[in-house]
């Protein structure tokens, strides 16, 4: 059985699991512990088969479904295999976690949840496998629908419904744009298979139209500024494992689509596409991280940080396009590898962190950073997993987040060799933006971890218990992957060689010479090299040595006492720095970016209340006017339907005469 069959079997299997889950009558806990782990098995199979398929040659098959002249075409090449690997690994962890999570927490009818969850997984797999526009769109929209239903699980809450609505609307408009993009690509001979589109040669103008449509359409799903607007609403609304999947995998399917269209289906590329992608990406990255810094809801914070990472990924693909258009394919290969690697890493640690928030909410039923604190003592497991995720997302060596960001920086440093001087001038600015985003990300995540897990609980109610065994297993799975990919990046990166060869026509062996299992190099080893293992070894060694020396020479007696309170004596949890406080410096510096409304109490206020609300200006710049215009227009046409039959008769009369005169 070929790896394609195996891969193709998994979505079907998931469908089956979902349907049987819908049918089964087991009690909530047993239901969850039975069906979600079953789904996890599918994830494992998918991951293995996909890993095998990356290096295999593309395989395709035609299913007996679909439109008359357009049966479903399925194709498994290196790129889809890579993203399927991502899906498989992440979904395994999430499914295991769900076994515990949905078993006890998370409202909603468990049977429907199970069905929607597995349909969601299956549709994502099919999106990655589709080889014709129709199947792609079907899977794409099914994915949107399934995730929508998962988002509105707690549909009694008004804000949840609003979030879901916003999400689906943006998703649908984006989908129509993608559809039009395919309409442009198929070049009027109504052959919607990707093969036919590959062979088409579009004029430069139409190609650009297609690219921009794709950028908009997929951007609406990935959350590029300014079509990110749904993301920070929908992620907090959804149950945490679902937020994890959406942020970890679903956003990546959009990246996949963008790469598929711009590198595979379009036969040409223009250098300014790269510039557009690069600038949009960096703007998105900086924007996302700055907004993440001022959030007070932990899931919103993570959602904005997803926007940031997606921006980084987009910037990477932009650079890839740039190099590719200037035939610097060796560099393009490196950029592509870095981009994809960051996709994978972000999927892992972001999902991990979302699961952590899930356990926290599960334990404390609080989501606001203003209430949490000190959980490291009550939930050590979750705290440990969270720490790993934190270090990874902060881009700290020796974890995986650093590895991909290291590669990206290398790519940026290589780009001055671009022939176009303006572009090479652009690069320092771009690098600076990237560096800023990465650094502020560290700030953000320290805020997240510190406020949630360290210090003292800010509200008495926020006392948690540690997560159950299923949840721990899920967290552990993802955490281990974060560490592994951080320590041995070369295995994954070198596995991307087929993708690079297929899409930018250069092998990674040239762009990463002498990379061994130990050393990750960029271009040439003497140019730059990084070895996470040695790195870790060094730290561990020094820590051990210093620890042993300290133990050896000095007795390690420890006395416990109250923290030093400067003699004030009434030190309590409310005196800790709050999430708002943490965000405040960023608020101060980048004030014009935010739409702030503060209400500060007067010094004489008996019961002082401090409230500050931060909103996204883009909503007021881009969206509100559109809505207003639509309302205005519909008010105008509303006048037409005036209720008087005479008027209606006049309409027909006028139409008649007008047409008669027209055809004269």
């Amino acid at each position: 059985m070929s790896s394609l069959d195996a891969v193709l079997a998994v979505p079907l299997y998931w469908m089956a699991v979902g349907l049987s889950g819908l049918a089964s009558a087991a009690s909530r806990g047993r239901h969850a512990r039975l069906f979600f782990p079953l789904g996890a098995l599918g994830g494992v199979v998918l991951a293995v088969a996909a890993y095998v398929a990356i290096s295999a040659s593309p395989q395709s098959v035609i299913l007996p479904l679909g439109l008359p002249d357009l049966p479903f075409h399925v194709r498994l090449d290196a790129l889809s295999a890579f993203f399927l690997l991502l899906l498989g690994v992440v979904s395994t962890g999430v499914s295991v976690y769900c076994g515990g999570y949905f078993g006890s927490a998370g409202g909603g009818e468990i049977r429907l949840l199970c069905l929607q969850y597995h349909v969601f997984l299956a549709s994502m797999a099919l999106v990655l496998l589709a080889d014709d526009a129709y199947l792609f769109m079907v899977a794409w929209e099914t994915m949107a629908l399934a995730s929508y239903f998962l988002v509105v699980t707690d549909d009694e809450v008004e804000s949840v419904r609003r979030a879901g609505l916003l999400y689906l609307i943006v998703a649908h408009v984006g989908a129509i744009a993608i559809l039009l993009c395919f309409g442009t690509l198929q070049l009027g001979q109504w052959n919607y298979t990707f093969d036919a589109m590959r062979s088409n040669t579009l004029s430069v103008g139409w190609a650009s139209v297609a690219f921009l449509l794709a950028l908009f359409g997929f951007g609406a799903k990935a959350g590029f500024v300014p079509v990110h607007i749904w993301l920070p609403e929908a992620h907090p609304a959804a149950p945490s494992p679902v937020s994890g999947l959406m942020s970890g995998v679903m956003l990546k399917t959009a990246i996949y689509g963008l790469l598929r269209v711009s590198f595979d289906l379009l036969h040409i590329q223009l250098w300014w596409w790269g510039v557009v992608a690069l600038s949009v990406g960096l703007i998105t990255a900086v924007f996302g991280v700055l907004f993440a810094a001022v959030q007070t809801d932990m899931k919103r914070l993570l959602a904005y940080s997803s926007i940031e990472n997606i921006g980084i990924v987009l910037a990477g693909s932009g650079l890839t396009i740039l190099f590719h258009t200037y035939d610097m394919d060796v560099l393009a290969a490196l950029a592509l590898a870095a981009t994809l690697f960051h996709c994978l890493n972000h999927a892992l640690f972001k999902t991990l962190l979302f699961l952590v928030t899930g356990s926290v909410m599960h334990a404390t039923s609080h989501r606001s950073l203003g209430k949490l604190g000190g959980l490291i003592r009550r939930m050590p497991w979750v705290a440990a997993a969270g720490l790993i995720g934190t270090l990874a997302i902060a881009g700290l060596p020796p974890l995986n987040g650093f590895a991909s960001e290291w590669m990206l920086f290398q790519v940026f440093l290589l780009s001055p060799s671009l022939p176009n001087s303006y572009l090479s001038m652009l690069v320092p600015v771009a690098t600076a933006a990237l560096a800023l985003a990465v650094a502020v990300a560290g700030y953000v995540i320290v805020k997240f971890y510190g406020v949630v897990f360290l210090g003292m609980p800010r509200e008495e109610s926020a006392q948690g218990h540690d997560a159950g065994s299923w949840e721990r297993a899920g967290l552990l799975w993802l955490a281990i992957w974060c560490i592994l990919l951080g320590l041995l990046p070369v295995f994954v990166v070198s596995a991307m060689d087929p993708i690079a060869r297929a899409f930018v026509g250069a092998t990674l062996n040239d762009s990463m010479q002498e990379s061994s299992w130990l050393f990750l190099t960029a271009f040439r080893p003497e140019r730059a090299s990084y070895s996470a293992l040695l790195f870790l070894l060094g730290i561990v060694l020094t820590v051990l040595v210093s620890y042993l020396l300290v133990r050896r020479f000095y007795h390690g007696r420890v006395r416990r006492s109250a923290p030093w309170d400067c003699g004030y004596g009434r030190l309590d949890a409310r005196m800790q720095d709050s999430a708002e406080g943490f965000g405040q410096p960023i608020k101060q510096i980048f004030e014009p970016l935010f739409k702030l409304e503060r209400s500060q109490p007067s010094p004489f206020d008996a019961r002082p209340v401090y409230r500050s609300k931060i909103e996204d200006r883009i909503w007021y710049w881009a969206y509100a006017p559109v809505i207003k215009a639509a309302d205005h227009l519909s008010a105008l046409v509303g006048v037409l339907h005036h209720g008087r039959v005479h008027l209606y008769l006049i309409y027909s009369f006028a139409t008649l005469l007008a047409l008669l005169l027209l055809i004269q």
Binding site: A635, G638, V639, L640, H641, H642, G643, R644, V645, H646, L649, I650, F653, L657, L660, L661, Q664
Partner: protein
């Protein structure tokens, strides 16, 4: 060239029809309106008969008879009984004042004639010159429906329009095939009955036949 007697006769009828159409547009009294409608039907019937005489088309005699029966006797009688039952005889107020309507009517007639010109070139019938008039009277009754505020005159306008169509059919093509003629006649008859039912429904619901009661369904702004 000099026109044959029948042709002159037909043109005369056509002019009469146009005249009646204008009269209906400008008529204020509902009873007169019904009489005018009957008159229109009569002229139509005569015209059809003349055409039949001139062209020896047997089925035209039939449709002439049909017209006479339906539009000169039955429908006016129905309407008359209707307004007796609903006793509405007072004046009809129009939306626009009469002269304006007349002016619009003139414009409509001009347009109609211009449109009809190429077609009547094509039509090989001795009645072709009256095609424009037919179209004009159709549009005029359309205009009448637009400008009337009461239910009954609107219906009369509707029927008058149907007359115009019938006239067009005879003048352009010596009438439609028999089946169609019958079908149309049936529809008209049923339609009138249903209109009658409606008058009573409207009457008992709004105790008036003024259409401005029927302006509730609109887009709330």
């Amino acid at each position: 060239m000099t026109l044959s007697f029948t042709q002159q006769l037909i043109n005369l009828m056509a002019c009469l029809l146009l005249l009646i159409a204008f009269a209906m547009v400008s008529q204020r009294r509902i009873l007169r309106l019904i009489y005018l409608f009957a008159l229109q039907g009569l002229v139509l019937a005569i015209n059809t008969a003349v055409v039949a005489l001139a062209t020896q088309q047997p089925h035209l005699y039939f449709s002439a008879a049909l017209t006479l029966g339906l539009k000169v006797i039955v429908l006016p009688w129905l309407l008359h009984r209707l307004i007796d039952r609903l006793n509405i005889r007072w004046d009809i107020e129009t939306l626009l004042n009469i002269p304006t309507i007349m002016l619009v009517g003139i414009v409509v007639v001009i347009i109609a004639f211009n449109l009809a010109l190429p077609i009547s070139q094509l039509a090989g019938t001795i009645t072709r010159s009256s095609l424009g008039i037919a179209m004009a009277s159709v549009l005029l009754s359309f205009l009448m429906m637009i400008t009337r505020r009461k239910a009954v005159p609107q219906v009369i306008g509707f029927l008058a329009m149907e007359n115009g169509l019938f006239f067009a059919a005879t003048s352009a093509t010596y009438g439609m095939p028999m089946v169609v003629e019958l079908g149309i006649a049936l529809d008209v008859l049923v339609g009138t009955f249903i209109f009658g039912i409606f008058f009573f429904q409207i009457r008992e619901t709004f105790d008036s036949l003024d259409i401005h009661h029927l302006e509730k369904l609109k887009e709330k702004t």
